[in-house]
Symmetry: C2
Subunit: 359 residues, 2 copies
């Protein structure tokens, strides 16, 4: 992958792995569904013939979208005429697995297509750091676990795969700058796309005070990679190139564009909440005391969400990725099983509204 290409967790790895391992994310996103439901209740509906449009920014393979989009549709349907079309646009990068997305929509028992035949899904395979839908057309926007992925890898991280765990000042500064730029680009594009009066709900990785979270998992990955270098499984240069282009934002980071008057590009913040999501995998362990199960579940999440990005740093990546995945997975899993501890998942949820037309 080119350093300048848009980067994502590459959900193409083992069709559906990201979907299956996304229970962690499903747990984390539940808290924002209430905000999205409230938005669907409050938003002004466009007059016909303008369509009701729900946009899902960063849909991945669709599994995590079914619940929130379904809730929004059910809420909108109560307010709109029975047969009135509701368009749902799932966006992600071009590399995303749209075949799984459309299969999920067609076959999943929780698909919103089951209950409402006047819903029309589509997909847009373009980075959301630009305008990708026509101006003033989106009634409701949803973006979950996506805005944390930067538009590009801004710099190497010499001493870790995650910049939050790095002590390299240059890397930290480059990531902070990119995160600020990308957040502004994201908000600017969404503001254009939202209809006046439209609502946008964002759930994204956040800092809990200064804590990025995920410590046992990320330290496990870093330690295992160090072992793999020592054993010659990967080279020092390869691990040096490994960098997860994800950022956790603080409350100040999220609100910065809106200073000083609480408004940016016509958007205002209706709700912002920093919180730590419940680690459901840990909760299960607290009951069943199955350390191996705990480790397996968290490692599966890491494998689906971040291993593919790490593997892009391998020379001859496609040939060696399988072996790399296996070794890293078993190593990280063994480390987690040795000393299970709860994993902190800091998140932010945010509801934004675009200024209405003047009356």
């Amino acid at each position: 992958m080119s350093r300048d290409a848009p980067v994502r967790p590459a959900p193409v790895e083992a069709g559906g792995a990201y979907n299956r391992s996304s229970r962690v994310q499903a747990a984390g996103l539940l808290p924002a569904v209430d905000l999205f439901e409230a938005a669907a209740k409050d938003v002004e509906l466009p007059h016909e013939p303008q369509s009701i449009v729900v946009a899902d920014y960063g849909a991945s393979a669709g599994h995590n979208s079914l619940l929130p989009i379904g809730v929004a549709i059910a809420t909108l349907r109560k307010r709109a005429e029975p047969g009135r079309p509701i368009c749902v646009v799932h966006t992600d990068v071009a590399e995303n697995d749209y075949t799984t997305l459309f299969h999920t929509l067609a076959t999943d028992p929780h698909s919103y297509l089951r209950d409402d035949h006047a819903v029309f899904p589509s997909a847009v395979g373009r980075s959301f750091y630009q305008q990708i839908l026509p101006s003033n057309t989106v009634t409701l926007g949803w973006s979950s676990w996506s805005a944390q992925w930067l538009s590009r890898v801004p710099a190497p991280i010499p001493d870790h795969v995650q910049v939050a765990y790095s002590r390299d000042e240059a890397a930290r500064a480059a990531y902070a700058r990119q995160a600020a730029d990308d957040w502004i680009a994201f908000l600017t594009a969404r503001s254009r796309e939202l209809v006046p009066g439209g609502h946008l709900v964002v759930l994204t990785m956040a800092l809990d005070d200064d804590d990025f979270g995920y410590t046992p998992l990320l330290e496990g990955i870093a330690a295992e990679l160090a072992d793999m270098i020592r054993e010659g499984v990967v080279s020092d240069a390869e691990v040096q190139r490994m960098a997860l282009p994800t950022v956790a934002r603080s409350e100040a980071d999220l609100t910065a564009p809106f200073a000083p008057k609480g408004r940016f590009a016509g958007l205002s913040v209706e709700h912002l909440e920093m919180f730590v999501a419940d680690d459901e995998i840990w909760r299960r362990f607290a009951t069943d005391k199955d350390a191996k199960g705990f480790a397996t579940r968290w490692t599966a999440f890491a494998r689906a969400s971040v291993f593919p990005t790490l593997a892009t740093a391998l020379d001859d990546g496609p040939q060696r990725a399988g072996q790399f995945f296996q070794r890293l997975e078993s190593g990280v899993s063994a480390r987690l099983a040795d000393a299970p501890e709860p994993i902190k998942i800091p998140l932010a949820k945010m509801a934004l509204v675009k200024q209405s037309w003047p009356r």
Copy 2:
């Protein structure tokens, strides 16, 4: 692939192979671009805020869509306000390669996104034998080399892979019935989706009198498969299961739903032309006398467009497909190189208009 699943040439084989081999189709579709351009000139444009929507039904990986959609956009742009959004919806089955489609749109030098920044592409991965876009929203529809693919394999073809070359009456009847049903389903769904006054242009495989065409290619495939059975490369049962769910329609087939008053579901036929497309590969051979090049080019077309469907009949398909492809390709190519002759490409092009709102 299940017998009831929607079937298509499975362009997933070797990313981009279908795109690259589509020069044959590019030649064949050029004749209909004039109809589509005329439609873009004549069609009533919707009033704002309703969007201008161009739908591309059966987009495959997008290569063949760039020219016709680009022509329509350029024509519409002359009539619409400079910054007015034009939405382009590329539809195909869920299995289609949308990643290549979005990459093609982003990077191809002939992409319509290069010239016009107020164009917004999206994709719908659902069979076009149902309504897949909201009612009364599509300004212009385009469907090229797609309506010939049936919604399902209606029956086995015991004596050939293509029903037009079969003498089995039951198979011929089942295919004819499915072709009639699918054509009605296609037209009914498009009629709902088109805005009143909207235009639809269809290019599809047709009969030249009763001739399906492609004789040397299809007879070459049948003969090679027979050899492969004798040599034990494939089993008799596997070849028995191989069936291309494509049909060529006669003028009577195409117009049947419109009898007796020239109207069906609000659609009327503005233009219908049965013709035989120029075999550009043959024309090149007539100049360069390169029999091997001739054979290679036609076989590449067959490999990309029909071999994947044939391979779905193999036991352990994924394991044996590569070997099957190679053998069938080299065998068919050798047969074509031995006795080059022009290949007939019978097509129909059709322009349909949906009744306007009463004034």
